[in-house]
Amino acid sequence: MATMAAPTALRPHTDAYGGESGIWAWLTTVDHKRIGTLYLFTSLFFFIVGGLEAGLIRLQLAGPNKHVLSAEAYNQMFTMHGTTMIFLAIMPLSAAFFNYLIPLQIGARDVAFPRLNAFSYWVYLFGAMFMNFSWFIGAAPNGGWFGYAPLTTMQFSPGLNIDFWVIGLQILGVSSLAAAFNFITTIVNMRAPGMNLMRMGMFTWNAFVVQFLLVLAFPVITIALVFLQFDRFFGTNFYTIAAGADPLLWQHLFWVFGHPEVYILILPAFGLVSEIIPAFSRKPIFGYPVMVYATMLIAFLGFGVWAHHMFAVGMGPIGDTVFGVTTLLIAIPTGVKIFNWIFTMWGGSIRFTTAMKFAVGLVGLFTIGGISGVMHASPPADLQQTDTYFIVAHFHYVLFGGSMMGIFGGIYFYYPKMTGRLLSEKLGNWHFWLTFIGMNVTFFPMHFSGLLGMPRRIYTYEAGQGWETFNKLSTYGTGVLIIGTLFFVYNFFRSFSNGAIAGNDPWGGGTLEWSIPSPPPEFNFARIPRITSRYPMWDMKTPALTAEVPHTANGDKRLDIDVAGKHTAEGHPVPIGNEPKQPAESGMHVEHATGESAKDLGIPMPNPTIKPLICAAGLITMFSGLLFIHEDKLPLALTIMMGGALIMVVSLYGWLLTPLEDAH
């Protein structure tokens, strides 16, 4: 295995990104792979922050009447745990994969708007820092991630806590929206020749649907937050009790965003799993079109079920019926996905890498979350479940058992593509089993504590209520989860320099990203591939197996298969390089890292630029100036806001009036 045909592929080239390294190169990067990497590191950091917050929460609840946290600290902790995990960990973890994978899967050299992409990341980073800065002045948000008015209005929350939350979420919304416009354009417009929509990788499909959810859901919460912000800063009446305001306005606006948000969190993981399961089953995804339609249907129905979060608010029997039934409906496409995954494995040849274990873990655990989801789709039953630990159990099965399992699987699957090295399977095995066991020990007992009457969001509880055992179990489980995560962190950093060399295609994947070196060169594809099927790599390596696949959807013939400028040779199946420790099969069908730069090859690449970062910094400055209004420093606030706006506008003009690339 050391005698590779292409010796340059042996070492993951740290100069894959055009040779530039060092801080400045990262600050000015517009490369989607670097930005994806930045997203990955930042969001994993915040995942750990959110995990530590969860650890403190569980210590406080390990037994009755504990004093690990004060009431106030606990409320800040659970608010920030939810906010962090949703907005600072899982969403940007998904964004890391969107960034890294979408261009690779559709055969593009970058996203449609590389500088906007950098801007999205910097806004996310600064927004995350802004929100967490609140810890250091002792005013972390404390109104819950759902921020129900009127508790979050000035009358009941006069401190800066809620201001940090309101402003922080708006900032993060800017980031998500900018990224979503970018990815929609990328997927609609930058697919390689022959890559029609129904040939896209399942991950790209899920990502595509998620972008639409983002584009349509985020404006709604932005408006809800704008109202709250105006109430808090300018004395408007949107949530003012005395003015006759209706607190349900906030709830409706919040959940019109909040329920699609659930699918924003879970669909990327579904996409990753839909790549992992076929690769390790050596079978294409079962029922590809149905999977695509199911994803779209989930997203569509996702906008019609928001009020199932509000069955206890007294909507009346008609409202409850409508939202109960639509919620039940959404279980159908979700169930279809589960069965299609199982039947992708059915008849396959399943190899249990760590990535595959996490993927199977998602299928098994998400099912539990789905079943409990159906239980509270029934409004009368939900009246006993809502706002109890039963719900906490449910959505952790969905978000940890679903999203995080999928994302961990995705990290094990794509780490070699990103770094050129494999994560250790041995440590990965520990990580998986500790996570799987820890997750079940933590969250399964919560079903019981909830049905035994334990409300959510309580910082303390009394002895003798029948909750002690289950809470103790949950806390032990969290300990196991933390140990499992330590294995992951160690593995992640250790493998960066010590992992086995991956080669182009360590897993025998079928999609386009496996045709190029790991890590990919800055231009991704030296030649833009021509696509004739959903699994071009399998067409190339095992043409006999894919012979039945129709390849003539666009009038193109099987022989047109062209990956990295090489045509397949019909009738000469090439074994799949499936040993993880071996570099990819070094046949002549894949691109090798040649060390040639984009310049050598005459490929136009966007210039690095610091302007998106400055623009993002201006935006944050502008927003954070608002805080000083509540400190009774209006002139200072205005100065900061005007200054930030000026920085933003000037750098934006500088950015827009500078060409993306050098003229040729």
Binding site: N182, T185, L216
Partner: protein
């Protein structure tokens, strides 16, 4: 936003493959952006409608409140004739925008008559669009000030809060549009806008028309329907 068009994706000599749809990336992105903006205004308008008639104190938008219901008489505050005028102004600005785009697209074609020269004058039509936009904003400023004089501020009641926020957001969008138009004008004066810039003018036009259409919705739902 203008130079970037020099690298049209159709221009394969620069090594970029053609786009999948044949449309420019920016065109796709602006449509996605407009989709998002639709939800933004839908939320604002829904809020206005939800809170309609729920203010506990006046002034109210339509219904006059006379003694004995009110101790002091309150007249309906919305001035429909004035707003109809400003709506007309904004509609006309859309027409001017269409002409501006056409002028940019046909810049290279020979102009023979005075009429053709006027129609082909991109600066004229961009100015016209921007000025009509500014006039609309002037109407809005007048409306806001007169409301404040009549005792309606953003803090007064639910109507005030939702009305000023909704129309204020729209006004902010018009302001951004005007700045965009002025930027295009600056470029036009510096080096002249031509058919190669048509895409960038088209983007501004799409945005401008969208803002215009939103106003039609606001005018109908807020001002006309009682």
């Amino acid at each position: 936003m203008s130079h970037a068009a020099a690298h049209s994706p159709h221009d394969t000599t620069h090594g970029h493959p053609p786009t999948s749809t044949g449309l420019d990336n920016k065109k796709i992105a602006i449509w996605a952006f407009i989709g998002s903006e639709c939800m933004l205004f839908a939320s604002l308008i829904s809020t206005y409608l939800i809170y309609k008639g729920r203010s506990v104190v006046g002034p109210y938008p339509h219904d006059a409140c006379l003694p004995p219901q009110c101790s002091t008489p309150l007249k309906a505050i919305l001035n429909i004739p004035v707003t109809s005028a400003s709506t007309f102004v904004l509609l006309m600005s859309s027409l001017a925008m269409v002409l501006a785009l056409a002028a940019v697209e046909t810049k290279d074609q020979p102009k023979h008559t005075t009429g053709e020269r006027i129609l082909g004058n991109s600066k004229l039509w961009l100015w016209m669009t921007a000025l009509l936009g500014i006039t609309f904003l002037g109407f809005q400023a007048f409306e806001f000030t007169s409301f404040v004089h009549e005792g309606l501020t953003i803090r007064t009641n639910l109507f005030g809060s939702s009305f000023f926020t909704l129309t204020g957001f729209h006004g902010a969008h018009v302001t951004v549009g005007v700045l965009w138009l002025l930027t295009l004008l600056a470029i036009d004066y510096r080096r002249g806008l031509g058919p190669k810039d048509a895409l960038n003018v088209d983007l501004a036009a799409l945005y401008w028309h969208f803002v215009d259409v939103v106003w039609i919705a606001i005018f109908t739902l807020v001002y006309l329907i009682k």
